[in-house]
Amino acid sequence: MRPGVRSTVDRLDAPSAYYHSRNNKRKRNDHGRDGKDSRDGDTDMADVKPEEPPEDPLRNSTTLYVGNLQSLKRERAVANRLNATWGVEDANQETYRSFYTTEEQVYELFSKCGEIKRLVMGLDRFQKTPCGFCFVEYYTHQDALDCMKYIGGTKLDERVIRTDLDPGFEEGRQYGRGKSGGQVRDEYRDDFDEGRGGLGRAIQSEKSERMRDSEKNREKDTHHEDDYGRLR
């Protein structure tokens, strides 16, 4: 449809609320640094008008952030499986595969939208193993948009994956930002997600502690919003 006209049906290739909230925060900070913070919103708007609107960093983006991948580690995968099935260790365990989504799987699926230029797996900061997200870079912006429309929200390795347009990979962003090295969301997850190692890691480590009160719970919920190892 023509640009600028709102469609009668929502578009799936728009950036998510995550990106916008991040972006807005940053904008406010920038203003603060520029010393414009004394102005109120209205004058600020008036001030901006004559200038060119800031270039949208996603306008020609060819990169996607991909989240919610399988990220269970080998040891735990095997242990979980064995414990669940027989409750014992088994000599056969090396035949079990490491339970994280592999680059090859990502290639196989994401190539359906166009040739992949680069794939960067998100890694646990300490163990350097995949920790549940990756960046997929295509050659064209259109391929990235098509990926948002056709692949985001479908399954890979039997998990519903999430895609979001991304201004581009930078060195360092491949590492999880959680305290224990993985993704922040995996620290304080209170749902049991087998594909991501059961409960949140922080929760597991403080398991002996008494049940957290609801106050604390709410606090943790806000952590969910800052999930992913991305966009500092």
Partner: protein, 782 residues
């Protein structure tokens, strides 16, 4: 029925999946937030919402809904904002939500009976937009606007829309007489024939019938003649001595006959909705409608020179995966319903590529947008159709919907959007209404499987790709037991080839053990232990492999990223040893080196890419040195990753990007010798087709980019190279297809395999000759 209520109907399609605020399923169903104070949205906003939601609910009655919206619009029309938004929204809805066109038209007709001055600016808007789109060659948009105007025929003065159709026809005639390959004329005739039924449903009269008959007399010559290009885009590749099941199914040919049928029966057009027709109790409103003011339709000037538009046009064939069944679960091709419903669904699918959820919703709700009684109740099991009364419809709405998507998935030369879009539509439809859609998909899958031998090979591959991708979204569950007997067929049999290809693709999206777990016992042997291994063995670790020591040494050097000076001595040693054994030194060293590169990078694609990046100069030199060495690079990669061809294909794709191997080398490797499989078996392997197909697409799309980009330097060379590539393929494939290949002449060929190989050769040949023809057509048009 249970599926109906899964999602609440939401104005104009639901939102995205990226709604991260709702993390729990419950949140979707019960909103526990404190209710915000209610306030009435501004009028234009309310009207927008109502218009967008038109006809979505099977619980609302059409005439009531239409009247109530029309009333609000007429009452508030003095509001400037409302006028603007209404005049913007109507044309937009016509283009974006084609299934609702008759309903939007009904609203406009009722508005006309209440406030006739609304119509003139609206008609002006639509007609000028139509002109605009015709100029751009956006023929689908033209068709949709005309469909809308056709629904308004009853409020148009004089002959209404007919003169426009006459004008379109005279254009079509000029184009068709000028060239037999013309496709725009065919498209224009299609538009005319698809517009006529809406005029007759909206304004049935003897004059209309007369006009339609005159028009159809004229279109007959063009519509009944098979198009020169039809043979090229037939989805079936019939075996010798047989006829394609769709040989007589050109879309406009069928339309012409269907309309003649309708005319002969007094135009019942029983599937079309007529929301502008009021029930008996609304006789007053009906009278108002009948006596409403008529308006002159502004002229729609067609451009002097019509163009194809952004997408190349091809004649269309009506394809269905259900028409062969013994019970009618979709309209038969003799019935106008088959074309009219398909047309509306296809436009919906292709227009709404930006929200597959909305598309899927429309497909599931398809029965809401056609006359009551057109379809049987949703999710009626196929077996139950047998017990139906004679005169009630047995058309399953989900079959009709799935059929429409399949017709796109299996459309030649290519559908409008990437194939994965159509995959995603089927996935969503299956998620929304699994009980209704899954059994329909099952029957479609069986049909494609049983007909894979005569399906065009490219389409067979597309089917395979969709099938496995679809399964990956639904726990890899399929009733493999029903094909269990085919497991023992020779690997070259089309069905067995499909099974093998499917298992490989499933494994790529998952892993061998998982897939094995979904298969009945007889299939287990098809997934060998080598497939369960993430990292293949390094053959040089085996002492008995020739050059084992050098292989290990090279691997060790590569692992510690040793400089090239340390590598060269080992290569030299291989060279001299090879010379002593009188084998090709460069080929030998290339095999050892490339295999070592693969092994060192076996941990993941990133590893192997980094490993290639570090050694690319050496590989480039080897590849440039001789054809045999170039082929050996490919052989080494494919041999190392033989259990996981998907990985091998990705690596070769990157080697092509680095120009370490050439497209020509890949084609030669796959098709000329027997490196990809003895006795022509390569031709039956899905992954070989994938490798070659991707390579060809890479070459052709690069050339297109260059040509479109207007670069002139070196273009002629690239064109020549592409032609050379197609020629190589043609030569190789012709000799397979005709059985003149040395390997085929060899008496060692297993029994009966020869005919199979020839057939595979023919199928390959058809695919790449078509590709070549299409590229040539592109070059002449560019």
């Amino acid at each position: 029925m249970a599926d109906y209520e899964r999602r609440q109907p939401s104005g104009g399609g639901s939102g995205g999946y990226n709604n991260r605020k709702r993390r729990y399923r419950d949140d979707d169903e019960y909103d526990r937030r404190p209710q915000r104070r209610r306030y009435d949205a501004p009028l234009p906003v309310r009207i927008r919402k109502q218009l967008l939601g038109l006809a979505e609910s099977p619980l609302r009655r059409w005439h009531e809904e239409v009247q109530s919206i029309a009333q609000v619009i007429a009452d508030g029309y003095d509001d400037q904002e409302l006028q603007t938004s209404f005049l913007d929204l109507v044309p937009q809805m016509v283009l974006e939500q084609p299934l609702k066109i008759p309903f939007v038209a009904a609203v406009v007709l009722v508005v006309n009976s209440l406030k006739p001055e609304v119509l003139d600016p609206l008609l002006a808007r639509i007609t000028s937009a139509t002109e605009e789109r015709a100029k751009e060659g956006e023929w689908r948009d033209v068709k949709l606007y005309l469909k809308f105007l056709a629904c308004l025929q009853s409020c148009l003065k004089g002959d209404g829309l007919f003169p426009v159709l006459d004008e379109l026809f005279s254009r079509a005639v000029d184009l068709q007489t000028a060239s037999s390959d013309d496709t725009i004329g065919t498209e224009l005739v299609k538009i005319i024939l698809l517009t006529i039924p809406y005029i007759l449903a909206a304004a049935p009269s003897t004059e209309s019938e007369q006009k339609a008959a005159e028009l159809m007399d004229k279109t007959d010559i063009i519509a009944s003649e098979p198009h020169a290009l039809q043979i090229l885009i037939d989805p079936y590749h019939a075996e010798r001595g047989t006829e394609s099941p769709v040989a007589n199914s050109s879309l406009i040919g069928l339309l012409q006959k269907q309309l003649q049928n309708e005319a002969a029966n007094g135009w019942p057009l029983s599937c079309l909705p007529r929301p502008w027709r009021m029930p008996l109790e609304e006789i007053e409103q009906q009278e108002k409608l009948d006596n409403a003011q008529k308006h002159a339709l502004p002229t729609i000037a067609l451009p002097n020179k019509v163009t194809t538009g952004p997408r190349p046009l091809f004649p269309e064939i009506f394809y269905s995966v259900y028409i062969h069944q013994d019970i009618e679960s979709v309209p038969p091709i003799s019935n106008i319903a088959s074309s009219v419903i398909r047309d509306a669904l296809l436009d919906t699918i292709n227009v709404l590529h930006f929200n597959r959820n909305a598309t899927a919703r429309f497909l599931i709700d398809a029965d809401c947008y056609f006359a009551p009684g057109t379809f049987i109740k949703r999710a009626t099991p196929f077996d139950r159709l047998r017990d139906m009364d004679g005169d009630r419809s047995s058309w399953k709405p989900e079959d009709v919907a799935v059929d429409a998507v399949f017709s796109q998935l299996l459309q030649l030369p290519t559908p409008e959007h990437k194939l994965v879009y159509y995959h995603s539509v089927l996935t969503e439809a299956c998620k929304i209404a699994p009980a209704a859609i899954a059994p329909s998909l099952g029957r479609a899958i069986r049909y494609c499987y049983q007909n894979t031998h005569r399906l065009d090979l490219e389409l067979s591959y597309r089917f395979l790709d969709w099938f496995t991708h679809h399964l990956s979204n639904f726990g890899f569950m399929w009733k493999w037991t029903e094909w269990v007997e085919d497991v023992n067929l020779p690997d070259m049999h089309p069905c067995k080839s499909l099974i093998l290809g499917a298992l490989d693709k499933e494994i790529r999206l998952s892993f061998a053990q998982r897939i094995k777990g979904t298969l009945p016992e007889p299939y287990q042997a098809l997934i060998g232990p080598e497939k369960e291994q993430d990292t293949p063995e390094f053959k040089f670790n085996n002492e008995h492999t020739p050059f084992s020591a050098e292989g290990k040494e090279l691997a060790a050097l590569l692992k510690r990223k040793a400089p090239d000076e340390e590598i060269q001595p080992v290569i030299d040693r291989i060279h001299s040893a090879a010379l002593d054994q009188s084998i090709d030194p460069l080929v030998t060293s290339t095999d050892v080196f490339m295999t070592a590169v693969c092994w060192v990078g076996s941990k993941s694609l990133s590893h192997v890419l980094a490993s290639i990046e570090r050694t690319k100069d050496r590989l480039l030199d080897a590849g440039a040195a001789s054809e045999a060495a170039r082929a050996q690079i490919i052989t080494a990669v494919i041999n190392y990753w033989s259990a996981h061809p998907g990985v091998a294909i990705s690596i070769i794709e990157k080697l092509l990007n680095y120009s370490i191997v050439t497209p020509g080398a890949v084609i030669e490797w796959a098709l000329v010798g027997d490196r990809a499989g003895p006795y022509g078996q390569a031709l039956s392997k899905a992954w070989v087709f994938e490798l070659v197909f991707h390579t060809v697409v890479k070459v052709t799309s690069r050339l297109r980019q260059v040509v479109i980009g207007g670069v002139t330097e070196g273009v002629q060379e690239e064109i020549a190279a592409m032609r050379e590539l197609f020629k190589t393929m043609d030569d190789a494939l012709v000799s397979w297809a005709q059985g003149t290949k040395d390997q085929l002449m060899d008496p060692v060929v297993p029994d009966g395999g020869e005919d199979l190989v020839k057939r595979w050769g023919e199928r390959w040949l058809r695919v790449f000759r078509r590709r070549s023809a299409i590229e040539e057509a592109f070059l002449t048009s560019a």
